[in-house]
Amino acid sequence: MNPLLKVQSISKSFGDLAANSEISFEVNKGEVLAILGENGAGKTTLMNILFGHYMPDNGQIYFKNNPIKFGNTRHTISLGVGMVHQHFTLADNLSVLENIIIGQKSLFSFSLSKKTALDKLNSLIEKFSLPIDPDAMVSDLSVSQKQRLEILKTLYKDCELLILDEPTAALTPQETEGLFKTIKNMVNQGLSVILISHKLNEVLSVSDRIIVLRNGKKVGEKKTANADYKSIASMIVGKEISYPKKIKSKPNREVLRLEMVSYKSDHDLDVKINNLNLKLYGGEIIGIAGVAGNGQQSLAKLLTGHLKPTEGKIFINQNEVIDSSPKNFMNQKVAYIPEDRNKDGLVGDMSIWENIIMTETDSIKIFNQLGFINSKNSHDQALSICKTNDVRLQKIDQPARLLSGGNVQKLLIGKWLYRKPQIIIACQPTRGLDEGAIAAVHRMILDARKDGNGVIIIGEDLDELLSLSDKICVMYNGHLSKPLDTLKTDKLTIGMLMSGKGF
């Protein structure tokens, strides 16, 4: 049998960096192929070549024995390849059906034959059991519904090979299950799927075959049936990953206390918070679980001075916080690892060392009494922080945006830990990172706990929260549950709370 997609020794370099070198693989009809690799291993470049965004230096790709014309997205789509990007490409102000037919018709055709489009959409909804209301506005859809719409969009264009880029990044465990059912359903109907993901557990449960990329090369290929977590993980990183062990720690004194903290605002981005009570001790980790959008963002902002509580009190080291400003919280030794590290953590167009000294504006060593930058001390401090935390870089002067996700996160956590904080607020600290970087970030957090820091991790990955935290609270609709002892609870209990039962 001829393979559906045949990739033949694709190479692509950016300057000295070989993003892809001699990559070959095949996808058969009715198969789920997972492509795994660290950030920067070449997955995205490969998909961009396949999808016509980049030109390869070398190699050829065949789809149903037709050579793909490079640099021509339209042609790739017309052959029957569809891609759902991590960040959706939907028009929020249009309905589901309008989003489906957008771009299908010439601008100069007078009628949008909605009737035929609707019939085709309905038949697809039926065939692949992807329920969605064709008349709903996209802005009203949830994340998983939007993803469903993206998948329907590609199916509408008669795609036979669907590429899913990090499809579960923003889904709850239940929604992820639903997506995997859809994938299996599609495969049973003869479609093929390429799944790009970081989450090894999920890949192992849904794929048929796995290929692993590392440093732009294909380093391994395995049938999923013969693969296990550990061997694939070390294949991705290229060496054995040592996962940090959580050792017992004794919570000592209270570092942070919330008393009946509420936040209300007309601003729709910040979900309101109702009467939160929470105590955090030094040397303990509290995990805050919950489906995204239930007030976790507002809580993180309240705990770091980016929002001011409308009611209630926040105590740091038993002292009430009066001045709610990020700077004051910083001075009170609160460190904040924001969820979106590229938007809120990093000034990508400034150099690595300039990013590292951004929290050090009060340090006489870095900025002298007259406010002039001490270039040598800044460089030395930045280099030592990068070295301690294994931030891999070419030059300390390079723009920070050239760092990979894992290195950015190590840099951010490292620069905050350098300030010897007492309280660390970390939002989704390992989101989108590869296994090696995840292990490094976990080790940094656990070390901080060992040093007596109180840590709050706000996250959606239950496995991670259960493995790191001493206690877990669940947020639902602006309320916070009582803390549960991690050793005495399980995913099921937490999942119930996440869906609002028990509040």
Partner: protein, 356 residues
């Protein structure tokens, strides 16, 4: 059809960065010569006249440098503001605000010895320009009113205010009916620095401020925070950089530089405030800043270069009998070419094979 795409360059060589503006200017002159040909004269002769008019004699050089003085200052105003992604299009209004301050304080209200009077006038001029921007910063911060609109519209308010004052309460009775302000007192007038020319101390001041701003931007905490806020205000805020305060400082510096351009023109070139004090120096400052890729020291070179085109074009139009508007055309084309060269510096073109 030629099929190409842009790809980001990995290595940005210093050599290319230095050569490219010169190349851009060269290309701009070639394109400009098409328009000169349209006017029916020889481009080579015209450019020769233009060059002689701007650099050909002691007096021409002095004219060029005195024209460059306010353009360097408004260029600095634009480059500081743009570095912080604060789009101050209001340098023209801030220039007139500075000129108003000079007229208010410098025509007899305050009398100080010269070596204090001159710095004092620069200070009040800078404050007037800077303070004019502050309410606009508040509007942007609290009500999200776009500063492009507010700064631009403020220009008209200030210019009309000047017009009102010069036609009415501030009109100099000695001016034989012309709408102009009273003369700046002798202690406040910026002295000549080249005898028998109009080149005055303001030019030295503008160079001094360019160097000062360069030091602030590249070596000082303030410049560091300005850059951080400009590139990513959210990340700067998360790292404890006071974003609003930084924008205030930017506004004071930027408006201050433009206000001082008003000082050099009122107390230096003319000696009194007129309605045509600035032939659009505030707007030209944007071109100066873009041409210098927002680098404060580059602003000196680009300010002198653009001033030389304006001054030289006057001479060119007299001797070749072509319109002086050609100067505006040449400046506009030059800025466009430099912007394109900045893109070429950042990206490379990659031509694709023709698809069959």
């Amino acid at each position: 059809m030629i099929n190409f795409r842009l790809e980001e360059r990995e290595n940005k060589s210093l050599r290319r960065q230095i050569i490219s503006p010169f190349l851009a200017v060269f290309v701009a002159l070639i394109i400009s010569s098409l328009f000169i040909l349209l006017a029916g004269v020889s481009p080579i002769d015209s450019f020769k006249e233009l060059f002689i008019g701007s650099f050909g004699s002691r007096n021409a050089i002095a004219e060029t440098l005195s024209r460059a003085t306010p353009m360097i200052l408004t260029g600095l105003a634009a480059s500081i503001a743009f570095k912080a992604r604060f789009w101050n299009i209001g340098a023209e209004g801030q220039l007139y605000a500075g000129a108003l301050a000079v007229t208010f304080f410098g025509t007899g209200l305050v009398e100080l010895p010269s070596f204090i009077m001159i710095p004092f006038l620069f200070l009040v001029g800078a404050l007037a320009g800077g303070l004019l921007l502050l309410p606009l910063v508040l509007l942007k911060n609290y009500y999200k009113v776009d500063e492009v609109v507010t700064t631009l519209l403020t220009n008209f308010i200030v210019v009309l205010l000047v017009s009102y004052l010069l036609e009415g309460p501030w009109k100099d009775p000695m001016s034989l009916g012309w709408p102009q302000g009273a003369s700046v007192i002798d202690q406040g007038v910026l002295p000549q620095i080249l005898s028998r020319t109009r080149l005055h101390l303001g030019f030295i001041f503008s160079i001094f401020f360019a160097i000062l701003i360069w030091i602030i931007i590249s070596k000082h905490l303030i410049g560091y925070q300005i850059k951080a806020v400009g590139f990513n205000p959210s990340a700067a805020n998360h790292s404890g950089v006071p974003v609003l305060k930084t924008i205030f400082i930017v506004a004071l510096l930027s408006g201050g530089m433009a206000g001082m351009a008003g000082v050099t023109e009122t107390a230096g070139l003319k000696g009194y405030l007129t309605l045509d004090l600035s032939p659009g120096f505030g707007y030209a400052g944007i071109a100066v800043a873009m041409l210098a890729a927002l680098h404060p020291l580059g602003v000196i070179a680009s300010g002198i270069f653009l001033a030389s085109i304006y001054v030289g074009a006057d001479a060119m139009s007299r001797s070749m009998n072509v319109p002086t508007y050609l100067a505006d055309v040449i400046v506009a084309i030059t800025v466009l070419c430099v912007l394109v060269s900045l893109i070429i510096n950042q990206y490379k073109f990659r031509f694709l094979e023709q698809n069959k």
